[in-house]
């Protein structure tokens, strides 16, 4: 009856689904726990949760009823309420809904399910309701703002939210904006860069000005934006590629770069008479130089270094493995959940976009945040305006990595957390991803005439200016100015994309594309700009599928909307690719073609040219600059909160108290709360897990099997030695050494380890910070060469500082993450760190240097000395000899000595294996904190059968080793008269602090 349907008009219907009484409300209880962790008074006595679905469609009441009953509510445990804003029996109600334009990943699936059920097109938005008991509306709003929602992406409502209609964009009318630049003076150029959010330097603005004077016209907005994206620090690494003039001042005892140059020629380095050193292209002359020298010196298993989205090494004759690690710091500071999720999502896309696509098989994460207990209760007011509570940041970044990685089906299986209050405004979120691929798929190149094909998510206004934002410094107002750079990911879209791309790669007639890359920072502008560098590209921007109407061509071009890949596809392969995309429900669009007569980038919108630029200027026009760098040994800093430097012996009267405090230090304490939220076993490849032994001790590294059925494995670990920040050269060497030791301890062959560098630094416009960066880069060169561990990929984030309301700048500590992976020849010979058998002995391998500097002990109780140094001859030799002892089957458990020192590592081995340990007072002096808690690099603890030390000594040769104890089944850790404690209790202390 047409008359009936005519009366039914489109409206927004609201369905609320809540737990039935007595059936449990875990989500409400979790919200209550979170609220209570804030330490507010009064605190809520109960919180109830409900799911809200807003459905925009013309629906009959029976249809709504059916959707609620059969799809949205689980009749066994839930009940639903339709189009009724029932006032609950609560003291306050809060609803949280994503703001218009913010990704709502569930909405799409709900709409699909409704379509499958009723054959009706609907639009859906989802939200969540919380009913509070025991607090008033204001308190509920405060709690919601601090634990349940983030105003950057959420609308927070104090009553049930029931809009009359959804916002739908407006139509867009083309307007080509020219930006006059040719006649600007210096001040005006700088203002244009700043106010246009271009974040380009004066020299760069001048180069652009000169180019447009040459062209005889003004740039169009889209052209300037393209340059800003392509020339951003994030995309082009201009600091690390710059020429640097480096000086050392009052450097005292430090290793001088000048002396290093005098000892042996360093590529790209010129020493001047005044003692300064010029380094031409810092990255090329240090990190990359080491790799190229190693490749000339016999390392033949590096297949692709520094040129692709990830570095690639040989795994076996048929397979290669690749690794990429990135940071997503600035978005995570403002919206930690979305920032971390899109961080891991982007890193996964890098792996999918490596060569002709790799399959992601593992992920890693490392977080640096302020101490979680620093800003709770009465300390909350100390938190600088514009910063989120560090506990919340950590919880949310973990949730972000969890939800993205788990949904993608990629095991997150290695990581670390480092706490320091200088990360308060600028936390660090490192995400890594590893892939496997056939060796004949490691290279791709677009061909003239290939179609430019975009796959995956739709383009929206989200993420605009992410590349330039990540290259800028955070301030207390950034959350408002840059909220459009913050995004929520949709992992299922990316999973479908991955499934389709791998099927296209392995198509029976051959790979269906000739090149692939991800749409990351800079969106299409970077992806198409890079792929088309050699050939030119012509793009028709109106063809990109949009999330909503109203986007300008510039917005389409630079949007960093997630889950998109760009492929170069021969015309002849297009139909087959379309069929695969259809099967996997992946959207495909043909944006244009590669290859233009003049090697240009040509941008069109509905037949009108909106931009045209020579590829040569875009990629080679960026001016090379000379930057000043200075290094001075830091003057002893006044102790900042959480960074005690003065020794205070009274605080540490005995080894037991020190051991307990160190085990409870959040850097050292168990990370099971994080690890168990990650599906670190999906894909069934994880052979050495992050927690090992009968009692879940901390593994040094993870081992996976990239190729099913092969006895070969791949070890994955990291090194981070921020405690040695006072000299980034030594810090870097220690991080490389730690990464190698971690890998050796699980059975990796140390001659088959490749590493990655990830620099996170405070602003390198400051010559002192750049000086510190130079020293770290020099450490990369020496460390990689000494350990014969080539760098294969890297990334930098060089503006990590936060300016508070009152103008104070909080700089992060210079932070270098070394990620490493290496080949295990036979996984059945892998080791774990848990002690295995009573009666076996504990052996300490390596030298202990007479210092506490840089140790956790010194952080807590004070301690002095020079920073410990890696011995570049002995360190690598120790790694090789320990690996040989392991390979010959003499070692039952191995553990690297790092954070907390020997006593911590020994205790971890004992409690992980559920054994007692009697330490020998003749070998370890209970009154000597250096021997127990010093953090000299290069040391290992090995569990060896009681009759084996002789043979191990033979294998180790001149590398020092001594027996320091014996495992037993007493359940006690003992050291003479000075220490006698239960290992189970130690384990509980270790598990407690982060057992959230």
């Amino acid at each position: 009856m047409p008359g009936m349907t005519a009366t039914l008009s489109t409206a927004v219907h609201r369905i609320e689904v809540r737990p039935r009484a007595g059936r449990g409300d875990p989500r409400g209880e979790a919200a209550l726990r979170q609220a209570r962790s804030l330490g507010l008074s009064p605190e809520p006595t109960r919180i109830e949760s409900a799911s809200i679905y807003l459905i925009e469609a013309a629906l009959e009441p029976e249809q709504l009823e059916r959707i609620a009953r059969e799809l949205l509510a689980d009749a066994i445990i839930e009940e639903s309420v339709i189009n009724e804003q029932r006032t609950p029996n609560a003291d306050a109600t809060i609803e949280v809904h994503p703001l218009p334009g913010v990704m709502d990943p569930d909405a799409d699936a709900v709409a699909k399910a409704i379509r499958a059920m009723l054959d009706i097109e609907v639009a859906v938005r989802t939200g969540r309701r919380y009913d509070f008991h025991g607090v008033d509306g204001n308190a509920a709003k405060t709690i919601a703002g601090r634990t349940l929602a983030n105003p950057v992406i959420h609308g927070i409502y104090a009553e049930p939210f029931h809009p009359e209609a959804f916002p739908h964009g407006h139509s867009y009318e083309l307007k080509i904006v020219e930006v006059p630049i040719r006649d600007l003076d210096e001040g005006q150029l700088e203002r244009l860069s700043r106010e246009g959010h271009l974040f380009l330097s004066l020299e760069e603005m001048r180069a652009i000005q000169a180019e447009y004077r040459r062209l005889g016209r003004e740039p169009r907005e889209i052209e300037l934006e393209t340059l800003a994206q392509t020339w951003s620090e994030h995309c082009v690494h201009k600091t690390l590629k710059a020429t640097v003039r480096y000086r050392e001042r009052d450097a005292g005892e430090i290793t001088s770069i000048r002396d290093l140059c005098a000892r042996r020629d360093r590529p790209g380095h010129t020493v001047h008479d005044d003692g300064s050193v010029t380094i031409h292209n810092l990255l090329k002359s240090t990190v990359a130089a080491a790799t190229h020298e190693l490749m000339e010196d016999g390392i033949d298993w590096c297949l692709s270094v520094f040129v692709d989205n990830a570095g690639i090494i040989a795994f076996d004759d048929e397979h290669a493995v690749c690794f990429k690690a990135e940071t997503h710091n600035h978005p995570s500071a403002i919206e930690p959940y979305g920032g971390a999720a899109t961080g891991i999502g982007g890193c996964i896309r890098d792996i999918i976009g490596t060569g002709l696509a790799a399959k992601p098989i593992a992920a890693t994460d490392v977080f640096c945040v302020a101490h979680p207990d620093q800003f709770v209760g009465d300390q909350a007011a100390q938190l600088p305006a514009g910063c989120l509570d560090p506990r919340r940041i950590l919880q949310q970044v973990v949730a972000g990595v969890r939800d993205y990685g788990n949904r993608m089906g990629i095991p997150t299986l290695n990581g670390a957390v480092w706490f320091d209050n200088d990360y308060v405004g600028n936390p660090l979120v490192y995400c890594g991803c590893i892939g496997v691929m056939p060796r004949d798929r490691i290279r791709g190149e677009p061909r003239r005439g290939d179609r430019i094909i975009a796959l995956g998510g739709r383009t929206g206004r989200d993420g605009i200016h992410g590349a330039t934002f990540s290259s800028a410094e955070l301030t207390d107002t950034h959350a408002d100015e840059f909220s459009h750079a913050v995004q929520i990911g949709n992992p299922v879209t990316e999973k479908k994309l991955l499934d389709a791309i791998l099927e296209a790669r392995d198509h029976e007639g051959g790979c269906l594309f000739s090149a692939i890359t991800d749409c990351g920072a800079g969106g299409f502008s970077s992806a198409v700009g890079e792929m088309g560098e050699a050939l030119g590209a012509e793009v028709h921007l109106e063809r990109a599928p949009l999330k909503y109407d109203g986007l300008s061509p510039t917005e389409i071009w630079i949007s960093e909307a997630q889950e998109r890949m760009v492929l170069a596809v021969p015309e002849s392969a297009l139909d087959a690719l379309r069929a695969i995309c259809g099967k996997h429900d992946v959207e495909l669009c043909d944006l244009g073609s590669f290859g233009t007569p003049e090697r240009e980038l040509i941008l069109n919108y509905h037949g009108t040219e909106v931009g045209r630029m020579p590829m040569e200027f875009l990629h080679e026009g960026i001016p090379q600059t000379v930057r000043e760098a200075v290094f001075e040994s830091p003057a002893p800093a006044p102790p900042a909160p959480g960074r005690h430097r003065r020794p205070d012996r009274d605080l540490c009267p005995d080894p037991l108290a020190a051991l307990q405090k160190l085990l409870a230090h959040p850097n050292i304490a168990s990370k099971h709360w994080i690890i168990q939220q990650y599906d670190h076993e999906v894909q069934g490849r994880t052979m050495i897990k992050p927690l090992v032994g009968l009692h879940a001790g901390p593994s040094d590294a993870a081992v996976i099997t990239p190729v099913e059925g092969s006895p070969r494995g791949l070890g994955i670990a990291n090194g981070l030695a921020t405690g040695l920040r006072d000299d980034p050269y030594l810090m870097t060497l220690a991080a490389i050494d730690e990464c190698v030791r971690n890998l050796v301890c699980v059975g990796v062959d140390p001659s088959r380890i490749a590493i990655l560098d990830n620099f996170c630094w405070p602003s390198c416009k400051d010559p002192h910070n750049l000086g510190a960066l130079v020293r770290a880069a020099e450490g990369c060169y020496d460390g990689a060469k000494a350990y014969r561990t080539p760098f294969i990929s890297g990334k930098d984030s060089l503006n990590n500082q936060f300016t508070t309301e009152d103008g104070r700048t909080i700089q992060i500590p210079p932070t270098l993450l070394i990620s490493g992976f290496g080949i295990v020849n036979d996984i059945s010979a892998c080791l774990t760190m848990d002690a295995k058998s009573p009666g076996s002995v504990l052996v300490l391998v390596g030298d202990t240097q007479p210092t506490l500097a840089g140790s956790h002990y010194a952080m807590l109780f004070g301690g002095e000395g020079e920073l410990p140094r890696v011995d570049l001859e002995r360190g690598p030799r120790t790694a090789q000899r320990v690996a040989a002892a392991i390979a010959q089957g003499h070692v039952r458990a191995a553990h690297d000595v790092s954070d907390g020192g020997v006593l911590i590592a020994a205790a971890e081995m004992a409690f992980a294996g559920g054994l007692g340990l009697e330490l020998d007072p003749g070998a370890l002096d209970a009154r000597d904190p250096i021997g127990l808690f010093g953090e000299s690099p290069g040391r290992y603890l090995l569990e060896i059968a009681a009759d084996d030390p002789g043979r191990v000594r033979e294998i180790l040769g001149e590398v020092p080793m001594r027996v320091i104890g014996r495992f037993d089944d007493s359940g006690r850790l003992r050291l003479g008269e000075a220490l006698d404690t239960s290992v189970d209790e130690l384990r509980e202390i270790w598990r407690g602090p982060l057992d959230w």
């Binding site: 449990g24 066994i76 699936a109 399910a113 949904r407 076993e681």
Partner: protein
Amino acid sequence: MSESPVAFILTGPGINCDHELARAFELAGASPRPVHLSELIADPARLDDADLIGLPGGFSYGDAIAAGRVFAQMIRRHLYPAFVRAIERGVPMIAPCNGFQIAVQAGLLPGPDAGSSWPIDPAPPCVTLTSNASARFIDRWCRIEIPADTRCVWTKDLKLTAASALLPIAHGEGRFVPDVESRLTRLEQAGQIAVRYASDDNPNGSAGDIAGLCDASGLILGLMPHPERYTTWTQHPFWSHLNAADRAHDPPGLAMFRSAVSHVVGAAALRV
């Protein structure tokens, strides 16, 4: 049956444990054949070629609404008769984790009582799997027990030792809740409890420590743990601690797949 039995592995948006499920079938002697949900919806009769079925884990449709809900809608709407035909032919099916959540909501588990036939339209769910008591995703290994009287073809012959009686779990919504108290007793009495968590190692608050259920025929197994992640000893969480005797048998995960494959091969031999 001249060739190895064909195991259909159903994939779809957000399914992500298909690869290891296929591998487990392969190790147990079957030939895995991945089929995408969209292909099966286009031609449900393809399922008639299956000798075994795997409904893998993952986050189908991103766990929108609740884990498995949307995928289950697709089965209810398009594939239910094809599944019933396969079940009635005696095809064993395994549904770990998200597969279990899907099977329960699609009306495939626990299925009709012994002696009753499958309803024409999918039955409404009578048990559910919902948020863990901790409201949090958990990945860890749990100690498990196999009820002595289970009818489950996949688990009834498992030989477990103290060291091997573990299975890995990795889920956020695995808390088993029956519609009524008596349901649990009925399932127990019918031998339909296929796997339990050890009572002091229940990770999610499941009623009756239930980790897995089978239908009345014992052929369809749904379980929250992932046996497909326990097909080699080096997947065991402390394998480097185990001695040779512990590792003398197939790992329990692989043994489950072998049981089902043997059942299919044996049934085919009887028919011949």
